[in-house]
């Protein structure tokens, strides 16, 4: 075990995976000598050369689109989109092509493609740098979507993503790059997709979250523990595949739930969690599940963003409402 920040864990995993499999190529904007704008690809070009670590022209469409051809040629592409908001420039390739490669070729061509992108707010970035788009991609079959909440999971899920024969969107919380820091297993560490993680044990209410929102949920759980409220925190880890059983078990066990998403409320992934719970454990629910989310406005400018992104007080308030203990 080594204590690492999340961005260190990502960098370390990229080094390990490139060393393990020489078909792995890393490319994107500024990933070479600059090591990525957040240093996630630091040292890769020195270690593996500029044939395998490539600074691309500034065009997300072909950064994504070329992965399909590279996969056909037998490579294992790990592409970086500098900020998830710019994945829109590549949506036709990610959703229309990458996600469908296996289907269109009736299984002949695999797409062992990983697309990494930072996302999420709280760090005063300019426009379109903070958007949380996971639910939009979750409606697009053929993609898998991983959103680590810990440095250890960043390693385990990224290794799994790169080794997965199917395309994975690997979404890294901007705010977590340096704020999230924990024990990362040394050596081989692969976390299976579709297995949620119980981040806090508890039985009165469950907070369901993913990515950086897990950190906030944990804080709420810890602070309510002092009042004798037992809050479970379920970290989904991957939203596709979704651990439907874990959601059902947690909601049934607690009878009360809050789901936290950073995206705007309407059609965020929280709605899917609620629909899933409705389907699987309606009769165990003691109160309606609450959503805590961004608002139905574009992600706002720097001075407003802390009011937009869910924070611990808003989550705590929702938990109290669900428990029926609000003031």
């Amino acid at each position: 075990m080594t204590v690492m920040t999340m961005v260190e864990a990502i960098n370390h995993t990229l080094h390990e995976e490139m060393a393990r499999d020489d078909r792995v190529m890393v490319f994107g904007q500024d990933v070479g000598i600059n090591g990525g704008v957040f240093r996630a690809t630091e040292g890769l070009s020195a270690a593996f050369g500029d044939d395998r670590v490539v600074d691309m022209p500034l065009a997300e469409g072909v950064i994504a689109g070329s992965t399909v051809g590279l996969a056909v040629a037998g490579m294992v592409p790990v592409a970086e989109i500098q900020f998830l908001g710019f994945a829109y420039q590549a949506m036709h390739q990610i959703v229309g092509q990458i996600a469908r490669l296996r289907t269109r070729s009736a299984g002949r061509f695999e797409a062992p493609i990983t697309i990494r992108a930072p996302f999420g707010g709280g760090v005063r970035t300019p426009e379109l740098h903070s958007e949380s788009l996971e639910s939009q991609f979750a409606n697009c079959p053929g993609l898998k979507i991983a959103l680590p909440a810990t440095a250890a999971d960043a390693k385990g899920l990224l290794a799994a993503a790169i080794r997965d024969p199917d395309p994975v969107l690997f979404l890294e919380p901007l705010r977590g790059y340096r704020m999230v820091k924990d024990d990362v297993p040394d050596g081989e560490h692969v976390v299976e997709f579709g297995k949620a993680r119980t981040s806090r044990e508890g039985s009165d209410v469950v907070i369901i979250a993913w990515s950086y929102m897990v950190e906030l949920a944990n804080r709420v759980a810890d602070s309510l523990a002092a009042e004798g409220v037992s809050v479970r925190v379920l970290d989904l880890r991957t939203v596709v595949p979704l651990d439907v059983d874990a959601i059902a078990d947690a909601v049934s066990a607690c009878g009360r739930a809050v789901v936290v998403q950073e995206a705007p409320e309407t059609c965020g992934f929280g709605s899917e969690v609620i629909a899933t719970a409705m389907e699987r454990c309606f009769y165990d629910l003691e109160a309606p599940i609450e959503r805590v989310s961004g608002y139905d406005t574009p992600y706002p400018v720097g001075m407003l963003e802390d009011y937009w992104v869910p924070d611990a007080p808003r989550i705590e308030a929702a938990v109290r409402r669900v428990l029926g203990t609000s003031a």
Partner: protein, 348 residues
Amino acid sequence: MVTTHPGSPASAAASGPTDDEQVEMMRRMIDANVFSTRIFNLQRQGRVGTNAPIDGSEAIAVGAAAALDPKQDWIYPQYREQYGLGRFGDELLDLIVLYNMGHPGGGAYPEHLRVFPYQISLATQIPHAVGTAWGMKVKGDPGCSLVFFGDGSSSEGDFYEAANLAGVRKAPVIFVLINNGWAISTPTSSQTGAESFAAKAHAFGFPGRRIDGTDPIEVYRTIAEARARATGGMGPMLVEAVTYRLGHHTTADDPTKYRHADEVEAAKSREPVAKFAALLGARGLWSDEQTAAQEASAHERFDGAWERAQATTWQPSDMFEHTYATPTPRMLRQRAEMIAHLAAEGEA
């Protein structure tokens, strides 16, 4: 760097095709034409879905495929050229039938067939072709990739982004822009203000060449030269192959709404299959009898393919097969529900 005259002679460096190759090209052009016509007509009978006939592009598809190495090179077609790519694997013609029926097996190209499935989302295959060429270069694999796309598709960002990347990486890729005058009802004059499509190569730093796309020999020689360049490490080439879309855009289209009969009539004199037959005939390499015989064999072959296609089984749950290597738990539930529902409805 750009040759802008249709019909300009290909570089002297390119040799071939041999007489035998020319005869084979002739056969394949006829096969392509027959298969395309049969599929088109089957749609009129409601037996296959919307489809795009090859009419006018036979020489481009067949000529390009003839100049490549089916064991080393990759072809990324759009949706009109498949009929002419039999040289890369004869199964392709069977698969075309399945595909146009809307059969789940229509994309099941066998492992050795270095052809990418149909592309419906225009121009998206261009970055794919560049990716493959780039990957081959990184791995040190021999060969190149070739991508077909239309005059219309050349307006998509995907073309420019991919060609620009190919220029930077000197990837061994050949861009074959099929200028058939139309993108559905949109003429090339509404598509670009450039002096030619070949001139677009200036934007990427590699050569552009405008050629007669109704002449399979010119196509062959140009692609052979482009291939030699590409595999010799000299990077990409853009080939604008000029032809005319003689038929409907697809079975869903009515071209009389937007273009003059005169224009179509005039283009018929350059119809590639008849023109090539006449040329080879004049050189004593081909006869009308051979045309008739090849047509008959193509029809027979189509009948066989159609019969095999009818006999190729499928079931509703096939849709769950190839989304991922292993279906998600939710998909397994959906699959079970679908099967149970169909059983209850007495359909399965």
